[in-house]
């Protein structure tokens, strides 16, 4: 893991040179992708860090998204808006994320998990656009902290009762059904449920996404939500006995919450808010697949996490491109864009098709696996899963048709039809999304 961390630290020394950071991050992506087709259960061992299939996939995803973040924030460079600070915050966030995904000790994981909130908060407060970002930052911070402080207590009591917090040693249903197991279980998983986010605890997400700059939205949708999924995968192994009693709670909240949230998407007028709510719906399905504790559910969850990370991040880039030109995120104003930006229509359609799990995107592969795992748990849930799929198409095509087709705003005289860097960013989002299904075993995790 030192190759990522040291590279990152050295890059932080050159933050005054924007293009060098761009190139450096691309090189880090290349380094990460070199080992993608590995066959090791656990490698890059050392210094309380190791990497297995799942961690490696997510580390590559983080580096990829952070690289694309820097490429899509050219407005920060153009306005000269504290470029050095921006790049430093991004690189610190990347380091924290790599540490989180590669940590072997639960406490180390917890500390990095919490630390990722600080650069995120700085990004929102520092480079967001509107006064409401203060409330957004407070919501994000407090929702996550309120749920994760009990996680700290539970990890410390785990240390007291087991003697070690090493992930490899504890993943065997160590906590049976004892007296305090219920409280212990809820304290542990609730942190990740809020991070995912689960339906009832999702209020921070639309706020944070809307107020964040494009870089913040991209990393939030792309990687930070996956921290919740990753944490769940690691912690559910410890509490598997208790989880079997309560998986119905999470499946119901996840799927039905996803249906409710998909319905709410139909009423959104703010593009970023719509994409944020759709993240909640996708992550609800991911959660349901995970808590069912099946092989298909685990792999489907990982695939949907990667696919959703790429797709939502790409959609946020597109929403930002519209915002930079028209000054508004509202679908009532930024509509009929096919007339002014015809080439973007293709990219809108590709990413929108990815969001609704159309083939050949990764989202389809993951969603099929998740539907298989959830339906194998109970056939009755087919109705809700069907509604979830159906409404995801509804709101996605609502956003596509309203933003692209029809008459454009009278006040819009002309706008740039698309810069090369924007096409690059969109290409880098949609090509992995569409191509990786051909060798799907790259994204599966063989835990």
């Amino acid at each position: 893991m030192l190759k990522f961390l040291v590279f990152n630290l050295v890059l932080m020394g050159f933050v005054s040179n924007w293009s060098l950071i761009q190139v450096g991050l691309s090189m880090m992506c290349f380094m990460g992708l070199l080992m993608m087709n590995h066959d090791f259960c656990s490698f890059c061992l050392g210094y309380m860090m190791s990497v297995d299939y799942l961690s490696y996939i997510l580390i590559v995803l983080s580096v990829w998204i952070v690289m694309l973040m820097v490429f899509s924030s050219t407005v920060v460079k153009k306005m000269g808006n504290f470029c050095v600070g921006f790049l430093s915050v991004n690189l610190i966030l990347l380091m924290v994320l790599v540490l989180t995904f590669s940590s072997v000790n639960y406490l180390m994981f917890y500390i990095s998990f919490e630390s990722s909130l600080v650069p995120m908060l700085v990004l929102i407060l520092g480079w967001g656009y509107q006064p409401e970002r203060i409330q957004a930052g407070i919501y994000m911070l407090f929702y996550t902290l309120f749920a994760s402080l009990p996680l700290l207590v539970s990890l410390l009591s785990l240390y007291k009762s087991e003697g070690s917090l090493n992930m490899g040693l504890l993943l065997s249903g160590v906590i049976g059904y004892q007296g305090t197991s219920l409280l212990w279980y809820f304290c542990s998983v609730l942190a990740f449920m809020v991070k995912l986010p689960l339906f009832m605890f999702h209020l921070w997400l639309p706020k944070a996404h809307v107020e964040a700059p494009v870089a913040g939205s991209m990393v939030l949708a792309g990687v930070l939500l996956k921290l919740g999924g990753y944490g769940l995968i690691r912690i559910l192994g410890v509490f598997s006995e208790v989880n079997k009693m309560f998986c119905w709670v999470w499946v119901s909240l996840g799927i039905l919450g996803g249906v409710i949230v998909s319905l709410m998407c139909l009423r959104q007028v703010d593009m970023k808010s719509l994409i944020a709510y759709s993240s909640v719906a996708h992550m609800g399905l991911v959660l349901s697949g995970l808590v069912v504790m099946g092989g298909w559910g685990l792999n489907g969850a990982v695939v949907v996490m990667v696919g959703h990370g790429l797709c939502s991040s790409g959609l946020f880039c597109l929403a930002n491109m519209v915002y930079e030109r028209l000054g508004s995120r509202s679908l009532m104003i930024s509509k009929g864009l096919l007339n002014v930006m015809p080439n973007m229509g293709l990219w809108w359609f590709l990413l929108v098709a990815g969001n609704m799990a159309a083939p050949p995107t990764l989202n389809l592969m993951g969603e099929i696996s998740l539907i298989i795992s959830v339906v194998s748990w109970s056939k009755l849930i087919m109705f809700s899963v069907g509604m979830l799929s159906f409404f995801s198409a509804c709101y996605t095509l609502y956003m596509y048709s309203l933003s692209q087709h029809g008459l454009f705003l009278n006040a819009l005289f002309s706008c740039c039809s698309g810069k090369v860097v924007e096409y690059f960013v969109l290409l880098m989002h949609s090509v992995p999304l569409n191509i990786m299904i051909v060798k799907g075993s790259l994204i599966l995790c063989d835990l």
């Binding site: 605890f201 592969m365 799929s389």
Partner: protein
């Protein structure tokens, strides 16, 4: 780019030669009774492999050949039809993408890889329907794609049920599906019903006529709507003997009847043709539900050819009368546009089942086989009535558009000097005339043994001629005729608006979901979730801290009261 302007020529050459090649391969494959299956493993998990399977047997080669043939002529035709359009190249790319999706659907006998074609068809047809940027197209496109999406969800759920078999190659598991997989069969049938616009999902097909004519000719006559029938043909081994068949029979016969009835009251040229497509789809699905999948395939192929021809002629007509689609404003086109009228009449008569044209071989055979098998009297009457109604609306259309006195405005230039459109139509008319007999003699050489009594045998012919007379004469009304349709307006309204399905599909269900979405958002997310979450917590904490603030107000009263209470406490503890 220069070559974008010639994409119609490119597609004509490429697709036509591919089509001829595929038909050749189909004959070879049929004579050798061989089929090739190629698999590419996407991933394998816990001993179930998700693969992309491609099958090359005579069915897929023949279907591919016919689809590519039709699409080559349609793309050449759209070189003239869409010639003035600004995003012409986008249109051609979309149509080509559509043809590729249809190809992906035809050659996939795997439930997961068929999704590539199935979802691709739905999405690309959506973009094609909303091609003209007006509200009618937007609404039609949304209705189309959401009706198709119900089918997609059906296929996704059937994938999850297919998991029980360990693989998704339904071509291999057909024989294992008899018995307990009723839910799976229901889901696949629902998917096919949405794609082929059976009742209750029929509202999208006439609405999708907001698309440009080449799109209707390709998509809504031969490819998209036949995808549902095709998947049922591939699944026919699994469906035999299950109770799904009876439901399919009733639904498809009702669709057949409803569409035929509705087309008699419709005045929009494209909608009449759409409803006739719907009626023929009902015929295909009904004969399939009786167990004769190869007859359904036969009718699918012949219908594709003459329906695409009919759409193309309608496009030529609409283009010439300056985009007015109302048949009340047409007439005597046979004098102004002779070649188009010839092609249109060929297509119309083929549709009616005129002896020895394309439709006769398939449709007559279907009717005779249906009369011979065990159908209930309800379906039997629906078959007979629909056959009559088909001829009725066909001759009505001929009367209004071609043979009546001219109802067009007094300054009208009607000509057919679009050579590409004409060439496309002529190519397809060869198919419309000969495809029936060629397919019957090549593909289905073993004839069905038809043993019917004389009345049943001539029933089809009798009902057709009756329908023709009725359709032609009843519509010869002048401006002072008192119409019975006005007198019984509520019945006319019921029949002509497709039994209210468009209203049900567009006003009732979306209204419920949008209003519940609003209440979930306003009362849920902005209301109670905030109360039990951020805002409520904030309010409670603020209220609590007010109490704390009171104690820090430095009021002598508070200190004295505290002192007093403390004295009493000490008094009671120590004394």
């Amino acid at each position: 780019m220069m070559w974008g302007a010639y994409s119609h020529l490119v597609s004509l050459v490429f697709l036509l030669f591919s089509a001829l090649g595929f038909i050749l391969f189909s004959l070879v494959s049929m004579s050798l009774s061989s089929s090739y299956v190629i698999e590419w493993e996407l991933f394998s998990l816990n001993s179930s492999s998700v693969v992309v399977t491609l099958i090359y047997d005579w069915v897929s080669f023949l279907f591919l050949g016919v689809v590519l043939f039709i699409s080559s002529t349609v793309m050449y035709y759209s070189g003239d039809y869409m010639s003035g359009d600004k995003s012409y190249s986008r249109f051609m790319y979309l149509v080509f993408g559509f043809v590729l999706s249809m190809g992906a659907l035809i050659i996939s006998p795997n439930l997961i890889s068929i999704l590539l074609g199935w979802d691709g068809l739905g999405l690309i047809s959506y973009v094609l329907v909303i091609y003209y940027q007006n509200e009618k197209s937007a609404n039609a496109g949304m209705l189309t794609v959401l009706s198709n999406r119900i089918g997609d969800v059906g296929i996704l759920l059937s994938i999850s049920l297919f998991f029980m078999l360990g693989g998704w190659n339904f071509i291999f598991y057909e024989s294992y599906l008899s018995g307990n997989f009723l839910l799976l069969k229901i889901l696949v049938c629902v998917a096919a019903m949405t794609k082929s616009a059976q009742i209750p999902f029929s509202a999208w097909l006439p609405a999708a006529m907001a698309a440009p004519i080449p799109v209707s000719a390709l998509v809504h006559s031969s490819t998209l709507v036949t995808a549902g029938v095709y998947i049922l043909i591939r699944f026919s081994g699994a469906l035999s003997g299950s109770c799904v068949q009876s439901v399919l029979l009733i639904v498809s016969c009702l669709t057949m009847f409803m569409a035929g009835l509705g087309a008699n009251f419709e005045f929009d040229l494209k909608k009449i043709i759409a409803l006739s497509t719907l009626s023929q789809l009902g015929v295909m699905v009904s004969i399939l539900s009786l167990g004769f999948a190869d007859l359904a395939f036969f009718h699918l192929l012949t219908h594709a050819l003459f329906k695409a021809l009919l759409f193309m002629c309608a496009g030529m007509v609409i283009h010439s009368v300056k985009e007015c689609q109302d048949i009340c404003n047409m007439g005597s086109l046979v004098t102004c546009m002779p070649l188009t009228s010839v092609c249109m009449n060929l297509a119309n008569l083929a549709l009616c089942g005129m002896p020895f044209l394309a439709g006769f071989y398939s449709k007559d055979l279907i009717l005779e086989v249906a009369f011979m098998s065990e159908v209930n009297i309800f379906s039997f009457f629906l078959y007979v009535l629909s056959t009559g109604l088909t001829v009725c609306y066909t001759f009505r259309l001929i009367y209004y558009s071609m043979s009546s006195l001219s109802n067009m405005s007094s300054v009208m230039i009607v000509s057919e000097n679009h050579s590409k459109m004409l060439k496309g139509m002529m190519t397809l008319s060869v198919g419309a005339v000969t495809s029936g007999c060629v397919l019957a003699w090549v593909v289905f050489p073993e004839f069905y043994m038809i043993c019917l009594s004389v009345p049943l045998k001539i029933l089809a012919l009798l009902v057709s001629s009756l329908g023709a007379l009725l359709g032609y004469i009843v519509n010869m009304v002048g401006s002072s005729t008192s119409l019975k349709t006005v007198k019984f307006y509520s019945y006319t309204m019921f029949v002509s608006s497709m039994w209210f399905m468009p209203i049900l599909s567009t006003f009732s269900a979306p209204r419920w979901s949008l209003s519940s979405a609003e209440s979930f958002f306003k009362i849920g997310d902005k209301g109670w979730s905030e109360y039990f979450g951020g805002e409520g917590g904030f309010g409670e904490v603020m209220k609590g801290s007010i109490y704390l603030q009171l104690s820090q107000d430095n009021m002598i009263m508070v200190y004295m009261k505290g002192f007093f209470i403390w004295i009493i406490v000490v008094f009671f503890i120590f004394i």
